[in-house]
């Protein structure tokens, strides 16, 4: 990753009594693709706006590249060289596509650069259209071309897919991510969809109530969430009571190797549903009480003898009927412990 591109140090921002961003420290590396993931209202968009310069922090410093842009002194948004793709794209309705893209460029070499940027997003043929004459996906690509045209070091994306038809969303997502990766720009993506964050980003920063609770690679966030809230936010989770002893944790559904030790005693263990294998067994300890067929996989709810239910996610080619007795076989894999 190399050098740091965006550095936030102990940044806070309040709106009246609401602490939107609370003492956040975060670093994004050069050419890194980072996702800022959190539920709506957690302050992630405010954080983005602090970096872009649309808000000024109450405390802390913001640096882009080598330069401190807020905290000690103030660099206005127009001098930060940060590209931004807005949630509703914010295309200028009175300008054609080409003039939207060329808006942030010096007159010299503007036409060539506009052509390049539109080529990059595959909209060269639409340059004379107006924003309202384009589909949502095309508008989004124009917004991206406009943000990339001045060759910023950083691109900020604010929930860019929230207005796109869910059917098209995943292909749009791949397309946009590929374009961004090809340019080698540093990307900070704000999203509330865990799947989006996990699949696209090099690293994910998880935000809750104005604070960054955890940063890490997608796998780390998914399998090693720092808190129970994080575990449940990034995916379906079984959180089971367990006992930690001798580097192993015993749970109702089996014994797992414990991550990085910890004090022996009562713990809560996170077991992801896909780590629980089910086998038809008339003498098994579990009973399938609910079955959700979802195409590529099947989601089961299994009641254990003590009344708790756990969920299991299995490929849809192994079909187990509702009401069947099953044995649970924990898969080799990672569990996370919450003390």
């Amino acid at each position: 990753m190399g050098a740091t591109m965006i550095r936030l140090e102990r940044v806070s921002k309040a709106f009246g009594a609401v602490r939107a961003v609370n003492d956040v420290t975060l670093e994004v590396g050069r050419a890194e693709f980072m996702a800022l993931l959190g539920p709506s209202g957690c302050g992630k968009t405010t954080l983005l706006r602090l970096i872009a310069g649309f808000e000024a922090p109450d405390a802390g410093t913001v640096a882009i590249g080598e330069r401190v842009v807020a905290g000690h002194g103030w660099i206005p948004p127009e001098r930060r060289h940060v590209g931004m793709v807005f949630q509703d794209y914010a295309l200028f309705p009175h300008l054609s596509v080409a003039r939207n893209v060329g808006y942030g460029l010096p007159r010299r070499g503007r036409d060539t650069r506009v052509a390049e940027a539109l080529e990059l997003v595959g909209l060269a043929a639409h340059c004379h259209r107006y924003p309202h004459e384009l589909s949502g996906g095309q508008q989004q690509r124009v917004a991206l071309a406009r943000a990339l045209a001045p060759e910023p070091a950083v691109v900020l994306l604010d929930e860019p897919w929230s207005n796109i038809d869910p059917v098209l969303r995943s292909s749009m997502r791949d397309e946009l991510a590929a374009i961004l990766r090809a340019t080698g720009v540093t990307v900070l993506l704000v999203t509330h969809e865990q799947e989006e964050a996990l699949s696209l980003a090099d690293r994910v920063a998880l935000m809750c109530d104005g604070e960054v609770v955890q940063t890490g690679a997608p796998e780390e966030i998914y399998y090693g969430p720092a808190t129970r809230w994080a575990a449940e936010f990034v995916g379906a989770a079984n959180v089971l009571p367990g006992r930690l002893a001798g580097g192993l944790v015993d749970t109702l559904v089996g014994r797992f190797p414990a991550p990085n030790g910890g004090e022996p005693g009562d713990v809560e263990a996170l077991v992801r549903p896909e780590l629980l294998e089910l086998a038809l067994d008339p003498a098994g300890e579990g009973e399938v009480v609910r079955r959700e067929f979802r195409g590529h996989d099947v989601f089961y709810r299994v009641r254990l003898p003590d009344g708790t239910t756990v969920c299991s996610q299995r490929p849809s080619n192994e079909s187990i009927p509702l009401g069947a007795r099953v044995a649970l076989r924990p898969h080799a894999g990672r569990v996370a412990l919450f003390h």
Binding site: A52, G53, F54, E55, P76, P77, E78, R79, R80, H81, V82, G83, M84, F86, Q87, D88, A90, L91, F92, P93, H94, L95, Y103, G104, Y130, H132, R146, A147, P150, N163
Partner: protein, 513 residues
């Protein structure tokens, strides 16, 4: 049927002028007409420009900055709408005219015996600007509040400063609203009769009136009226083309965050001074002058005249006009909204065309028509009310239209599905939902009728004085103190309507930010 009646005046005028043949034009003389047109165009350009220059900065200050007391300014900047242009003109004459307050104040200590001439173009521009800039202000403020702040932020993040952003993004996006505001101002100025007459400025409307009064042959007046209609049409066409191909809707209203307010810093006080200057000149000065005249008239024990009769007449005529206009507009709007077809929409558009007909033109047409073909109606309250309805029909249609649009036809269907008959469904669902919009339309017509002057002058039955004609008669003989009470009553009657129609609905500046 209704629309045909509304379009009648224009058709009649045309017939009349064609009948009159070329003599009408020769009576007037080409040069005279050219001069009148030039005067009128100059006036329209200056007033529209001045209204934009006042209205846009005011709108920006109250919506987008931390201007001290901005809620107060937001409301009071719209209130000069209650002052009819002829009252504004009267006040200006009283304050700055020969032997006006200004001169009296300056005479004692400085021996000033002449103040700069207020009659003519300067006075007319001032009076009309005072009474029209709120249109631009209100529309610009609404548009600024609707503007997605992300557009401006996108521009900033692309390396453009705040000033450049305003020039290259904010203003162009506001253009349709500013165009609509400028159109209203231009139409108002074109059709204004009171202010130009009092200021003795030779514009078309004044010339029409003079011709009408001075000659037995009224064809020249009709010819001039046609010229005025053509000018109005040109303004409408220009505005239509200026709007162009671009659409400016925000895609998802409601999702945008309120724009952060610009900190004025040391510019705060000049900004307040600007607002105070405009409001002081356009609202406080007129009220102060009127109250002063009134107070003086009372203290000198002068006869105030019978104002309650005219006041009653004004209320009566305005109520009738409002009721008839809304009743007539409803079917047109229902057709256009519920049964959209090319002809229903064309019908509706046709009914808007009388928007472009200045009151004096309508009045003139009805005078001819009444005198020649409908003697029984001539000089009756009925014809006067009819003129009002024709004049303000577009306002009634527009309000009914938007009121009906707000009622989803599925609501009525839902009521039917729940076992109500069509009539019950209409009465229990549609009617309550539409009623506020219709009332607003009626209020608008009522307000406009109260202030209307030229049609009232031409068409009112003998002895039927209204507040507007009272003000007019008093001012033509420079009896300012007699004009004070009717003028004040006009303002007092109009104020609640203006407040309800524009201020309360319009600039809600107190979005959290």
């Amino acid at each position: 049927m209704v629309v045909a009646l509304v379009c009648l005046p224009l058709a009649y005028l045309l017939v009349r002028v064609v009948d009159g043949g070329t003599d009408a034009w020769s009576v007037l003389g080409r040069e005279r007409i050219a001069e009148l047109v030039a005067n009128t165009v100059l006036l329209v350009v200056l007033v529209t420009g001045a209204a934009l220059v006042l209205g846009v900065p005011l709108a920006w200050l109250v919506t987008r900055t931390d201007l001290p007391g901005r809620r107060f300014w937001a409301v009071s900047a719209a209130l000069p709408l209650v002052i009819p242009s002829y009252v504004a003109a009267l006040v200006l004459l009283a304050a700055f005219g020969p032997r006006g307050f200004l001169q009296q104040v300056l005479e004692e200590p400085f021996g000033v015996e002449r103040v700069p001439e207020i009659y003519g173009l300067p006075g007319a521009v001032l009076a009309l600007t005072i009474s029209t800039y709120p249109y631009v202000y209100l529309l610009a403020a609404a548009a600024l509040r609707d503007l997605d702040p992300a557009l401006e932020e996108a521009s900033r993040s692309l390396g453009r400063s705040r000033v450049e952003t305003f020039r290259r993004v904010t203003l162009p996006v506001l253009r349709p609203s500013l165009g609509a505001g400028a159109l209203l101002v231009a139409l108002y100025t074109l059709s204004d009769f009171g202010a130009v007459s009092l200021m003795q400025y030779s514009s078309l409307t004044r010339a029409i009136y003079v011709q009408y009064r001075s000659l037995f042959d009224r064809t020249p007046a009709a010819a001039l009226a046609l010229v005025l209609v053509v000018l109005t049409a040109i303004v409408l066409v220009l505005e239509h083309y200026a709007r162009g191909r671009v659409r400016y809707h925000r895609r998802s209203p409601g999702t945008a965050r309120p724009a952060p307010r610009v900190r004025l810093g040391p510019w705060r006080w000049p900004a307040v001074a600007f607002c105070a200057g405009v409001v002081g000149f356009a609202l406080v000065l007129p009220l102060a002058v009127i109250v002063y005249w009134l107070e003086r008239a009372v203290s000198l024990g002068r006869e105030l005249g019978d104002v309650w009769g005219p006041a009653f007449n004004s209320l009566l005529a305005s109520t009738l006009a409002a009721g008839v206009a809304v009743a007539a507009a409803l079917p047109v709007a229902v057709l256009a909204v519920r049964y959209p077809a090319r002809w229903t929409r064309a019908l509706e558009r046709l009914s808007y065309s009388s928007n472009a007909l200045p009151g004096i033109v309508i009045a003139l047409a009805l005078v001819f028509f009444g005198a020649n073909y409908a003697g029984f109606a001539y000089q009756t309250l009925g014809l006067l009310v009819f003129a009002y309805v024709v004049r303000f029909f577009p306002q009634a249609v527009a309000s009914s239209h938007s009121a009906l649009l707000r009622v989803d036809p599925r609501l009525e269907e839902a009521a039917r599905g729940l076992g109500k008959s069509p009539r019950r469904a209409f009465a229990t669902v549609t009617a309550p939902l539409v009623a506020p919009g219709l009332l607003a339309g009626a209020a608008l017509v009522f307000l406009s009728t109260m202030k209307e002057l030229p049609a009232t002058l031409l068409l009112a039955p003998i002895g039927f004085d209204t507040l507007a004609t009272e003000v007019w008669t008093a001012t033509t003989v420079a009896a300012y103190s007699e004009a004070a009470l009717p003028a004040l009553l006009l303002i007092v009657f109009s104020a609640p309507f203006v407040y309800a129609l524009t201020v309360r609905r319009g600039p809600e500046v107190d979005a959290p930010g």
